[in-house]
Point group: C2
Chain length 307, copies 2
Amino acid sequence: MPSWNEGKTKHAIVDFVERVTSHSGADFVAPSQRIAVFDNDGCLWAEQPMYFQLAFAMDRIRALAAQHPEWMTKEPFASLLEGDVEAALAGGQHAVAEIVAVSHSGMTTDEFQRSVREWARIARHPTLKRRYVELVYQPMLELLRYLRASGFKTFIVTGGGVEFVRTLAEDIYGIPPEQVVGSVGKQQFEIRGSQPVLVKLPAVDFVDDKAGKPIGIQRFIGRRPIAAFGNSDGDLEMLKWTAAGPGAALALLVHHNDAQREWAYDRQSQVGRLDKALDEARANGWAVARMKEDWNTVFVDPKRHVG
Amino acid sequence: MPSWNEGKTKHAIVDFVERVTSHSGADFVAPSQRIAVFDNDGCLWAEQPMYFQLAFAMDRIRALAAQHPEWMTKEPFASLLEGDVEAALAGGQHAVAEIVAVSHSGMTTDEFQRSVREWARIARHPTLKRRYVELVYQPMLELLRYLRASGFKTFIVTGGGVEFVRTLAEDIYGIPPEQVVGSVGKQQFEIRGSQPVLVKLPAVDFVDDKAGKPIGIQRFIGRRPIAAFGNSDGDLEMLKWTAAGPGAALALLVHHNDAQREWAYDRQSQVGRLDKALDEARANGWAVARMKEDWNTVFVDPKRHVG
């Protein structure tokens, strides 16, 4: 893991992996039980100034606007199309839900995946100017590879939409769709002409965040992880559930404290708030990866990464 | 696959596998896309005279009866405890729901798994006198192994409860928990003392049957299978979804036509009804494994199988 500086955090990771993979040791864990779970937003890729999936949803509204003249006079679409994101989001959860519903439903799963792929190919982050799929953390990619090389099965457990993340995760993280746990929208099975299709409906079925994360892990994976990686209070229950397992366990938080190379935010942030989980990490001796001190590289080199 | 007789059905399986694994052929499928899904009841193990999970639920009621004197005067428990299963089930879906709720909820996921393991270790089928976990079809075990050896990832997609099937699937089929899709009950995350637990609630969240099967596949696996195996009308939508994929696909039904070695049932059966799906199989040229003609062995040899 060349992008990790030598120090307490890297040592905690390597020490854990060596303990659970050492056949002769008391902490040995059989390969089938080596389940590692990663939050996505703010843990594997960046999440500022807004979750990338929300950026996708907004871009999708812009792309569809020509077919929806009624949006010009209807909020939150009108403000969004005028370029005033803040006004569009002033409606809070309701506005976000409308933007997500319009961009994430009323189409088949195949059509949705195509729209995500098309967006990922061209969309760029507003300030960093890179493609979103290039805002992946190089140290976390190395950690994923290190764990897999040590017999771990790596999963994403995200509050984001499972279909959105699955469409991208195999290319950017080497994590196949069946190893992505996330929030789930309702779907309907239909026969169109003679072809069966799955249609995405504008209703949320399961929110994989906070206490939803251990529930999602149990529901999709069916066994308790021995390693969990997060960066916000939304990951707290997942870290607790993992740390409380019967054998050796690793719980790690990424702490965004690097305003120069990325962002510095924690207890007061609207996106990715890290407050209670930071206190718990200190109280329980969980590992904390401080971006500024622990990582000598932040983002993947886009020339070397396909995305 | 020594337990499969030479003939059309075995040939259809082998021909399909050779086509999708042949690098030079037009039907080649990359290993990551080789997803095979199997129904469980009546496809991987038997399902007569009642789903084994219902037998587990009833045995569980009997085991808990001493702690519940009130059951002696309350249906469906009273009839069940008197040994009159038919009277207990006379209440239909409501009676079944009560029996399942009591036996499948109000405990932690760890406690539930222990109760399933304990039951599987000792419970025996009423007429075949073997342990339920020994009523696994030997030809299907060979098929699972053959597919895995050919680079497939094998999944169970069952109408049964996902926690029940996961507890047994790794030992009896070599299928890990994270590759079992099934019906899902609601759960709650709690801190008891200082320990986090997941508590099973008496409410069904998702029914993985009929149109629920392709939805469950999309939700848990996130990509369309290229091979699907079922035995009843509950599998019809899963077979259609699989068969309609863009490349080569295999859809297969197990037809229980062997009253001597197992059971013979199809269009009129209350358990595992095979009616519409049999017509669709004929209309679409899907493979049909006729137990009597296609299998020279039905059940696994318990001496050679751990369970």
